[in-house]
C-alpha cells in the first residue's frame, strides 16, 4: 500500500481536483439533513483532521457509513478540493469509503469523542495516543528528541549508549532497582548464609543505572565530545508530578571544557530545541496554548530570545535573604535550594532562565570540581520560569589527588572507582557536562504539568501497567 500522510494533504503537497486516497481514524461523524455525512479523519501525522464529505449515494452509506463512530478506521478515496468552509484549506469529496475496523460497542469505547480527565487517560495509556492531547504530546516529544540528536550531531558530538545494568552505584546514592535472575523461592546461599550473588546472572549484585555520566566520561576522555540519550531509573518512592521511576536523560560531556562551556552548550541546546518545536509543531503548540497552558508559546519564545543569567550560588543566597519574602524553607549559605527558591529567582527576580553555579561542596557529589576557594564546587543548575530546575551539571574533578581527597571525605572507597580514577591517571583533561531530564523538557514545552502524561507508559510507585 502507498499511504499518503494527511499532513502533506493539508499543507498543499497534493494537487487539487484530482483523486486521492487517505487512511486514518474517524475523529467525528456528522450527518446533514440533506443526506450527506461529514467525517473528520486523522492519521497522527499532524494535529488536524481532514474532512471527507460522504454522499448518501455510496453503496455502503446505510450499511457502513451511518454506523461509523469515533475511532473507526477508514480508507477514503475521492477528489481533493479546496474547502469552502472555515478552518481547513482542503477537503475530500468522497467517492468510496472503506471501513477497515469498526469500534466494538461504541457506547463503552473509552476514547469516545468527549473531554476526558487526564487521570482517566493515564489509566488508558494504551489508547490515549488517540486523543488530541496524546497525539500532540507524542509529536512534540518526537520533535524535541530529534532536535536534540540533530543539534548534538551537527556540533560533532557522538552518541554513546552507556549501560543500563550496572554493578556500580554512580553517586553513592541508595535508591536503585535490583536486576536479578535468582529464584526468590530458592535463593542460593554462601557458607555464611548470605545470598550468593556469585550465582546471579552477572556473577555479582547488579542494579539499574541512575545516570550514565561516570560511564560516558570514559568516552569523553578519549573522543572529546560525546553524549548519552537513554533511560535511567530511580527507585524513589516519590509520588510527585516531577518524578518517574523510569525516565529518559540527555547527558552531554565535553572535554577541554570548563563549567562555563557546559553552561553555554546547555543554553544553546535549549534554545535550538525550543526553536525547532516552535517551527515544526505550531499546530500542536496552538492546542496546548488553548487547552492546557495559555503561556506556553510565550514561554518558549522567551527562552529562545533571552540571555540566560549567570549567577553564583553565594549571590543567589544574598538575593533570597534580602528579597523580603518569607519562604517555607529558610535560606542561608550552605543550604540546598528548594523549588520555591528556584522559582522565585527564575520567575520573580529575573523573570528568565538562570544558570546558578558554584554550590557549596557539602551538598554536591564527589566528582564535581573543587573551586579555588576550597568551599564550593563548579556545579550548576539551570532554572527556568514555570518549572524550576531543568538541567544540572558540573565541571568534573580532573585532579587525581583532589578527587581522592573528596572520595575520602565522603567515605567512598576509592577501589570502587578504580576505572574512574584511571581517567585521571592517564592523560587527564578538564571536562564538563550536564544532565537534562527529557520528560521535564517535554512537560515544559507542552505546559502539561505532570511528567506521567508526557511519557507513553509511566512507571511510578505501584504502577507498571501495560
Amino acid at each position: 500500500m502507498s499511504v499518503i500522510a494527511i499532513t502533506d494533504v493539508l499543507t498543499g503537497k497534493h494537487p487539487v481536483d484530482q483523486e486521492i486516497t487517505v487512511h486514518g481514524w474517524v475523529r467525528t461523524r456528522r450527518d446533514s439533513k440533506a443526506g450527506i455525512s461529514f467525517l473528520a479523519i486523522h492519521d497522527g501525522s499532524c494535529f488536524d483532521a481532514i474532512q471527507a464529505i460522504v454522499p448518501s449515494e455510496l453503496d455502503n452509506y446505510q450499511s457502513d457509513i451511518l454506523k461509523v463512530t469515533t475511532g473507526a478506521a477508514v480508507v477514503v478515496t475521492g477528489t481533493l478540493v479546496e474547502s469552502p468552509g472555515q478552518g481547513q484549506a482542503f477537503e475530500i469529496q468522497a467517492t468510496k469509503v472503506e471501513v477497515l475496523g469498526f469500534v466494538e460497542d461504541p457506547d463503552t469505547y473509552p476514547m469516545a469523542a468527549k473531554r476526558h480527565s487526564i487521570e482517566f487517560l493515564r489509566e488508558h495509556a494504551h489508547l490515549r495516543a488517540r486523543t488530541n492531547l496524546g497525539g500532540a504530546v507524542t509529536r512534540v516529544r518526537n520533535s524535541l528528541a530529534q532536535a536534540i540528536h540533530r543539534f548534538l550531531h551537527e556540533k560533532g558530538y557522538l552518541w554513546i549508549s552507556t549501560p543500563l545494568i550496572t554493578g556500580s552505584d554512580c553517586e553513592g546514592a541508595g535508591e536503585m532497582f535490583r536486576v536479578s535472575t535468582l529464584d526468590l523461592e530458592n535463593l542460593p546461599r554462601t557458607d555464611k548464609g548470605e545470598v550468593d550473588f556469585n550465582q546471579d546472572f552477572f556473577g555479582k549484585e547488579t542494579f539499574l543505572t541512575v545516570s550514565g555520566q561516570l560511564n560516558v566520561e570514559t568516552y569523553c576522555c578519549a573522543l572529546s565530545k560525546v553524549y548519552t540519550f537513554g533511560p535511567t531509573f530511580r527507585a524513589e518512592n516519590s509520588n510527585t508530578s516531577r518524578h518517574l521511576a523510569e525516565f529518559w536523560m540527555v547527558e552531554p560531556e565535553i572535554a577541554f571544557a570548563d563549567l562555563s562551556d557546559a553552561a553555554d552548550l546547555a543554553e544553546e541546546m535549549l534554545k535550538y530545541v525550543f526553536k525547532a518545536v516552535l517551527e515544526e509543531r505550531a499546530d500542536d503548540l496552538a492546542f496546548f496554548q488553548q487547552r492546557v497552558d495559555k503561556t506556553v508559546i510565550d514561554r518558549l519564545n522567551s527562552v529562545v530570545n533571552s540571555d540566560f543569567v549567570r549567577l553564583d550560588y553565594t549571590d543567589a543566597i544574598t538575593i533570597l535573604e534580602n528579597c523580603g519574602k518569607t519562604f517555607e524553607n529558610p535560606v542561608s549559605w550552605g543550604v540546598d535550594l528548594n523549588s520555591e527558591h528556584e522559582r522565585f529567582l527564575a520567575e520573580e527576580h529575573f523573570n528568565g532562565p538562570v544558570v546558578l553555579k558554584n554550590y557549596p561542596k557539602d551538598i554536591k557529589s564527589f566528582y564535581m570540581r573543587l573551586n579555588d576557594d576550597g568551599k564550593t564546587v563548579a556545579a550548576m543548575d539551570i532554572l527556568a520560569p514555570g518549572i524550576g530546575e531543568i538541567i544540572g551539571g558540573s565541571q568534573r574533578e580532573e585532579r587525581l589527588d583532589v578527587l581522592d581527597q573528596r572520595l575520602a571525605e565522603m567515605n567512598l572507597d576509592k577501589d570502587d572507582y578504580s576505572w574512574y580514577r584511571d581517567l585521571r591517571k592517564y592523560g587527564t583533561v578538564p571536562h564538563s557536562g550536564f544532565g537534562l531530564g527529557f520528560e521535564r523538557l517535554v512537560a515544559y514545552a507542552t505546559g502539561v504539568s505532570n511528567v506521567r502524561d508526557v511519557i507513553p507508559f509511566p512507571r511510578t510507585p505501584n504502577n507498571a501497567s501495560f
Copy 2:
C-alpha cells in the same frame, strides 16, 4: 575555551599560515636527531591524528615534551601549514605545547601504542575508546544511529519510548531479568507463604522488557508511523558472538501496511544507513577494511546497490533440500532455519540480501498474521551475506477472532493481553513492523565479529563490569 575539532583542520576548514590551537591526546611521539619532536595528536573527531612539529627551542621541551608519551593530553598552538610529508595534508609548526595530563607510569599504561588483542581491550572497556579500533567503532556506531533517526524522521515516523520495566512478558518467553526493590534477606510473604510482590516497588512482579513491539503497536494504531530505538534485555545464558544481555533495538511499526510494506521499509532503511556510513565515515571504514575485514566496504556497497530477493520460506526449503549440500541440521518443511541455512541462502545461493517470508505458524509468535493457507504466518527475516539474520518482522494479526484463536492455541491467557486486544476491538487496521538489532548492524558495518566489541560496556553472563 573554544576548541577546534581536528577533523575540521584536516579537511581544510581553517586557513593555512595562521595561528591555530588544537586540543587532544598524543598518539605517538617521535624525536629526530636534529632536536625536533613530532607529536601525532588526535581528539576523536576523526580517525586521523594531526602532526605537530615541536622544536627543541620551546621552554618546556626538555621538562615536558621529552616526557610526553602515548595518551598524554596536550594543547598545541602554532602555525597551520600544508604538510610536505605524505599521508597528511596539513600539520602544525608548534610554538607552544602545554601538557594538561601526563600518563602516570607509561610502562604500565594499558593503552600504550601497540596492537592489543580484542579480548584485552574488552577487559579495559573504560579505555578502549582511546584506541584506533575503539574510536572507529564509536564513530561508525554514532553515524548509524543518527542515520536511523534521520531516515525515519524524514519519512514521518515518530520516535516512541516504550517502557523498559514491564509487568508483561511480550512473547510468552521466559528469559527475563527481574526488577525489584524487595530486600532479599527479608522477603515479605503472603499468608500462603509465597513471596508477596504486592509489597514490591510496582506492587507486582516486574521484569526488563524483551521488546517494545506490543507497546509500540498501541501508538501505531493511533498515529500510523512510529518506531522505538531503545535498550532491550535477554536473560539468556548465551555466550556467543551474536548475543548480549543488554542491547539496543530499532522497531518501526507501520499502520495500513502489510508484510511487503515492512520489507520495503527495511530494505530502504538498510540502504540509507549504509550509504550514510560510506559517505560520512570513509576514514574509519578504510581502517576496518585494512585491519579487521577486507570485504567490509564491498559488502556495504553491495547491500546499497542490490535488490533484496523476496523468497517464501516454502521455496527456501525446496532450494535447501535440493542444493546438494549436507547441513548439520537437516532441513524439511516446518523446521526453523539455522544460521548455516541462512548463510547458505544469502552467501552461496543468492549472494545478496534475502527477505525470507511466510514461515510455518508453529515456529512463530502468536501476534503474527495468519495467512490464507492456514499454515503459515506473514513473518519475515532479512538475511545478509556475512552475518545471517539481521532483521525480523511480521504483519501483525489485526483480526480479533483469529488473534484469540492463536492465543488459545499457544495456551496464552487472553486476559493478559486485554490492552493488546483492545487495539483490535477499536478501529483495527492492518499493520506491520520489524526489529533490527542495533549491535548486529554495527558489527555488520564494521566487520567486527563480536557484538561485545561494538557496544561500550557489554553485559553478558558473568560480566557487568564498569
